[in-house]
């Protein structure tokens, strides 16, 4: 793979949560870091997210939830990706995620969880070092 290929990221808001300040800021930071970013808008079901990820041929899915629905919705995205036979997309999450929930989310296949106060450079750096191009 040529190193000039741009990383493609789907920034997604699963569930009914309307808090999109963080998702939009992260999306812009990734774009400013040279990635191609597609933002889903609000109220996406896991099915819609997986469909968009496949049709847009992304390398990364970044999901943001502040409503507390992460335990129900994050793993569902992973399950649907598996069912579609997709195993090369890096899936990360962020939002208000209690520390106690993180181990189970990671075990389900969420590669990393970024909480409030995370510097943008940390997310950019994480994607750059862990994406499978």
């Amino acid at each position: 793979m040529s190193s000039s290929k741009k990383i493609r990221v789907l920034v997604a808001k699963p569930g009914l949560d309307g808090h999109d300040r963080g998702a939009k800021i992260v999306a812009r930071a990734l774009r400013d870091a040279g990635m191609e970013v597609i933002y889903t808008g609000l109220r996406q079901t896991p099915e819609m997210i997986v469909e968009a990820a496949i049709s847009e041929d992304v390398n990364v899915i970044g999901m943001s939830i502040l409503s507390g629905a992460h335990n129900a919705l994050f793993p569902k995205v992973i399950d649907l990706l598996k069912a579609e036979g997709v195993d090369n997309i890096l899936v990360i999450g962020g939002g208000i995620i209690p520390q106690d929930d993180v181990p189970a989310l990671k075990a389900a296949g969420i590669a990393e969880v970024f909480g409030p106060g995370t510097p943008l450079a940390e997310i950019v750096g994480y994607i750059e070092s862990n994406v499978k191009l």
Binding site: L16, G18, H19, D20, R21, I25, P116, P119
Partner: protein, 557 residues
């Protein structure tokens, strides 16, 4: 000194003498200081000739046009603001217990947080509600839940605020129906429904229908309340969520007052007399970190609204000119790191709200960057208000910062800068056009991104986050978790409710609502009938989804 000229001379001597001498040895921390909105902050403010001359028309006196110094003649010397903690989680039973706890701790009003399925009009057993039931607020599906929520709380003894927008008519109807069962007629009910759909498109995200049908339902509610619920605020025009989404203080008041004007215009266009509904319009703002800019913001907003209502709209009743508002301290300023520091942040923000003359206040709990508040955390938040009210002394005189050179200068500048947005939005064809074009959304996203970049570049210090960090900090606060069983329990409850009611009647009322919604008659009486027969929030919203369709959000980054 005495004269303006003499004063200017002394200031010049001061700047060229002692200030210059000090600066040569000790430069200031920054070359330029500015407010959170980017307004430059001078070293010192002193009276201008204009300020002295303009005292009358610019400031007025408390309770008099243009209300810069407050909407009531005696403010907190008469009575304190309403202490109203926004709360709700799990099911009606748990939230009823929390309400009683808060009242028991000295809270003076209720404020209901609904869960997202309720706010977006899905019943708890809708597949789209999965994982969200009872999470950010209480799950309310039907009148049975609302009755349980107010069990043992007489509606003639409390005022209740409901953060509900697209389904506002339905939750108001449920509240009326609970009142009927308790023997409290609707003309005695006191409270507020947020019902501000415009800011949902702009910032908060719980829109359902497009702007035009939504505005129709809103004007129906305003008309119904004007006739039947004289003590009810049918709208709480909200800048809070605009600020939380990342706007500046200037954008917060500009966009909120623009939305306010749009509601007033919609009411007038539907044939209502402005003075029949405008006195019950209320507002909701954030109290952010920059204490004095926030005080100036509240003062500027009051003056702007008074002028807009009197001069632009031509309202005659002085009550229509008054901007009455609720305040919540800024949730987005709370940090997950060293969360106890949030108690201090909230106290300063609450101080700004009181110095700015708020009518009611929610103080955030220290744990809210992590979860919904625990009882212990919310108690400290409420105590913060009680300490300000009973111990601080700031309540004993009105608008104590009035006449502060700095605060008056900021008040003028915020007003001036906010009005610039009025011209811009009007040239775009008004608020709804600007929303459809994504104008507000883009302006807010821009400010939010700039703010974050400043934090990341350490140009802006957030204590405990990008400076004064505790290495390897471990979370020590207890976190409130909503039990997973809650969702199953509520799903069973809504299903059982549908079996127990008279379904023929429900269908008949929903059909009636469909007809009324397609026509021009006020929708409220039909909603009330359906609610009394235990039609669910999801069923009523489904009728409207069929009639009005859903809004297609412009995706703005």
């Amino acid at each position: 000194m005495g004269s303006e000229k003499g004063l200017r001379k002394i200031i010049k001597e001061w700047e060229e003498g002692p200030v210059a001498k000090t600066l040569a040895k000790f430069p200031e921390r920054k070359e330029q200081f500015e407010t959170l909105s980017g307004i430059p902050v001078d070293r010192l403010y002193s009276p201008s000739e204009k300020a002295l001359k303009d005292y009358g028309p610019e400031l007025g006196f408390p309770g008099m046009f243009p209300f810069t110094r407050g909407v009531q003649p005696t403010m907190y010397r008469g009575r304190f603001w309403t202490m109203r903690q926004y709360s709700g989680f799990a099911t009606a039973k748990e939230t009823n217990e929390r309400f009683k706890f808060l009242l028991d701790q000295g809270q003076t009003g209720l404020s209901i947080a609904f869960d997202l399925p309720t706010q977006i009009g899905y019943d708890s057993d809708n597949p789209l509600a999965q994982g969200e039931v009872g999470k950010v607020g209480v799950a309310i599906d039907s009148l049975a839940d609302m009755e349980l929520l107010f069990d043992g709380i007489p509606l003639d003894k409390v005022s209740t605020s409901m953060t509900i927008n697209a389904p506002a008519a339905i939750l108001l109807a449920m509240y009326i129906a609970v009142g009927e069962k308790q023997g409290v007629p609707m003309n005695k009910l006191r409270g507020t429904i947020q019902n501000d759909i415009l800011k949902e498109y702009v910032a908060r995200g719980t829109w359902v229908f497009g702007p035009n049908p939504s505005m129709r339902i809103t004007t129906d509610i305003m008309e119904y309340c004007a006739k039947n619920l004289p003590l009810w605020n049918p709208l709480s025009i909200s800048g809070y969520h605009i600020r939380e989404a990342g706007s500046t203080a200037i954008q917060e008041i500009a966009f909120t007052l623009l939305n306010g004007m749009a509601y007033v215009q919609a009411g007038v266009d539907s044939g209502l007399d402005v003075d029949s509904f405008a006195p019950r319009l209320s507002f909701f703002f954030s109290a952010h970190n920059d204490i004095l800019e926030e005080v100036a913001k509240f003062r500027a907003a009051r003056r702007m609204w008074a002028r807009l209502m009197r001069e632009r709209i031509g309202a005659k009743d002085p009550r229509s000119w008054k901007l009455r508002f609720h305040t919540q301290t800024a949730g987005c300023s709370l940090t997950a790191q060293q969360p106890v520091n949030n108690v201090v942040r909230v106290a300063y923000q609450a101080l700004a709200a009181i110095l700015g003359g708020t009518q009611s206040l929610h103080t955030n709990s220290m744990d809210e960057a992590l979860c919904l508040p625990t009882e212990d955390a919310v108690r400290v938040a409420l105590r913060t208000q009680q300490i300000l009210a009973h111990e601080s002394g700031i309540v004993n005189t009105i608008d104590p910062l009035g006449g502060s050179y700095y605060v008056e200068s900021l008040t003028n500048q915020l007003e001036e800068k906010a009005y610039k947005y009025f011209d811009q939005v009007e040239s775009m064809g008004g608020v709804i056009r600007a929303i459809e074009k994504g104008f507000f959304q883009r302006e807010i996203a821009e400010s939010a991104y700039k703010y974050q970049l400043e934090i990341d570049a350490e140009q802006r210090t957030v204590v405990g986050v990008n400076d004064f960090i505790i290495e390897g900090e471990e979370l020590k606060l207890p976190v409130l978790q909503v039990d997973k069983e809650i969702e199953c329990h509520q799903v069973e409850r809504v299903k059982l409710g549908r079996r127990k009611r008279d379904n023929k009647k429900v269908l008949e009322y929903l059909d009636d609502l469909r007809k009324v919604s397609k026509g021009t008659e006020n929708v409220m009486p039909s909603v009330l009938k359906a609610v009394r027969a235990h039609a669910t929030v999801g069923e009523i919203m489904h009728v409207w989804r069929e009639v009005y369709g859903e809004w297609n959000q412009p995706k703005v980054l």
